[in-house]
Amino acid sequence: MLRTAFARSSLAMRSRVPMAFRFYSNNLTPDSPVTSYGADPTVRYTENHEWIAVHKDNVAFVGITKYAADALGDTTFVEVVETPTETEAQESIGSVESVKSASDLYSPVTGTVIEANEELVNSPGLVNEDPMGKAWFAKIQISNPAELDQLMDSDKYEAFLKENDH
């Protein structure tokens, strides 16, 4: 595929249909199970559009970003791992499906999944309603906090989205 040709068509399309710049608030939901666990968790993002919120005791919540939930559309099914489960970074610890597709949720870090969100299994629609709060997938006791340095912070993730969105 010729990249130049694509850029041209993309601009052409945008000029025909003025579209407001899409803004995704990929921040944790205030007063959610994720934020009420402890104060000021460190939030990082992956290129696969997972978020991880790490608390002071190295317990982290993991889920998919608002951007990913919007791209997925109606969530029809969620599967989570049995707990406890040891996981490596990049290992599948759940899956999320729409009518059309199924995607894995990969652990951003190495650790032990100590709890999975069973409420999500019963109400997959939470992924669309509150992807960065009630729709956390897994709680992980992380074993190597240094791995977080390889992930994106909020600014880098927003820049990553802008670069890849058009």
């Binding site: 595929m1 010729l2 040709a5 694509f6 041209r8 068509s9 993309s10 052409a12 399309m13 025909r16 249909v17 579209m19 696969n48 559009h49 997972e50 998919i64 990913a68 791209a71 997925l72 559309g73 109606d74 029809t76 099914f77 599967e79 599948s92 899956s95 999320v96 499906e97 729409s98 009518v99 059309k100 597709s101 199924a102 995607s103 894995d104 949720l105 990969y106 890849n164």
Partner: protein, 380 residues
């Protein structure tokens, strides 16, 4: 968690006459069979757009499909050689589902054939098979040495599907649409012209496919339809889940050149006189399979949990693979998963308990009759 973003060069793709309509409705455009086609429109979810068609009326751009006209002294002979349909027995302005056959009885494409007169047919084939079908028609005509004229029909092809479809279309014409039953067609006064309207479709709902042979009129027609509040434009996402619920085949998934109409459970497309004359491609093999009843069969499956997807293994009670899923999805109408796959006949019986392997684990599934959702066709 998302797969690679799927971009293609929209500018390099072919455009249907409704391309500007799709952009105006902010369709999310993708490459489908070389055409820029909408998957979903703005502010629609897949499930909402699917349900809209089951409850109201959906407008589908199917202009990417290939519309043909075959005419001339050998047109019937030609089409009765490359398909197993009884076209001599077909009444004018009546359509039938059919299949283009290779010499082994494999399916080159599925098609709708509409008879307009003796030796005059309107035929619609799949966009994804365009090049190979055109080559197939040429080769077969030359092999048979027949005198047939083959024209391609340009312009748009618009499908209006859903329980409100007839009410909506009736407002745009003085022609009494009650006169057109399921599987029938007529040239109908629309937008100051006369266009071919065929009753039927790919969703299991009542509906029409309208061949608007002029690009500008196609756009005008689409705009006139969506002015009715019962109509929403519907993209490819819902088109696929609707056809799956209706138990209909998708070429490339359920149908290939290795699959015969017998295995595909399309034996009904083989007209009765054709079973006697045996003068269609692959007749020997197909009639042998029909008599022996030993091929695997296209079979419906229903499950809960994660949805079966194309390529998933179908397992028997012992965990041995007995088939492969050809299409699968959550059914928005039924609230459970529906799938199709080819299974040995002894397992293809309704109620047979099997499993489908999804993400390394066997998940229970039960053989089920198709269509999964009861059709809502209009019969006179």
């Amino acid at each position: 968690m998302l797969g690679k973003r799927f971009y293609s060069d929209i500018a390099a793709l072919r455009k249907t006459p409704l391309f500007d309509f799709h952009l105006a409705h902010e369709g999310k455009m993708v490459d489908y069979a070389g055409f820029a086609m909408p998957v979903l429109y703005k502010a629609q979810s897949h499930i909402a757009s699917h349900n809209w068609v089951r409850e109201k009326a959906g407008l589908f751009d199917v202009s990417h499909m290939v519309q043909h006209k075959f005419l001339g002294p050998d047109a019937t002979k030609f089409l009765e050689t490359i398909t197993p349909s009884d076209l001599k027995g077909l009444k004018p302005f009546t359509s039938t589902l059919s299949v283009l056959l290779n010499s082994n009885g494999g399916i080159v494409d599925d098609t709708i054939i509409c008879k307009h007169a003796e030796n005059e047919y309107y035929v619609v084939t799949n966009a994804g098979c365009r090049d190979k079908d055109l080559a197939f028609f040429r080769e077969q005509a030359s092999r048979l040495g027949v005198n047939v004229r083959h024209d391609l029909i340009g312009g748009g092809l618009l499908a209006l599907q859903g329980p409100e479809a007839a009410n909506v279309l009736q407002k745009l014409t003085n022609f009494d649409l009650k006169e057109i039953g399921f599987g029938e067609s007529a040239f109908v006064d629309l937008l100051g012209g006369k266009y071919h309207v065929a009753r039927g479709g790919y969703t299991g709902e009542d509906g029409f496919e309208v061949s608007v042979t002029d690009d500008a009129k196609s756009l005008e027609f689409a705009n006139a339809l969506v002015e009715n509040e019962a109509v929403q434009p519907i993209g490819l996402a819902a088109r696929d889940s609707l056809r799956l619920e209706a138990g209909m085949c998708l070429y490339g998934n359920e149908l290939t050149e290795e699959i015969t109409p017998i295995a595909a459970r399309l034996a009904w497309v083989i007209g009765k006189p054709r079973r006697a004359d045996k003068e269609f491609n692959g007749a020997e093999e197909i009639l042998k399979q029909l008599a022996e009843k030993s091929t695997p069969l296209r079979t419906g499956l229903v499950s809960t949990g994660p949805a079966p997807r194309t390529g998933a293994k179908i397992l028997d009670k012992d965990g041995s693979q007995v088939g492969t899923v050809t299409s699968g999805s959550l059914s928005p109408t039924l609230g459970k998963n529906v799938a199709m796959g080819y299974l040995p006949r002894k397992l293809a019986k309704n109620g047979t308990e099997l499993s489908i392997e999804i993400r390394g684990k066997p998940r229970p599934a039960v053989v089920s009759a198709m269509p999964f959702v009861t059709p809502n066709y209009y019969r006179k």
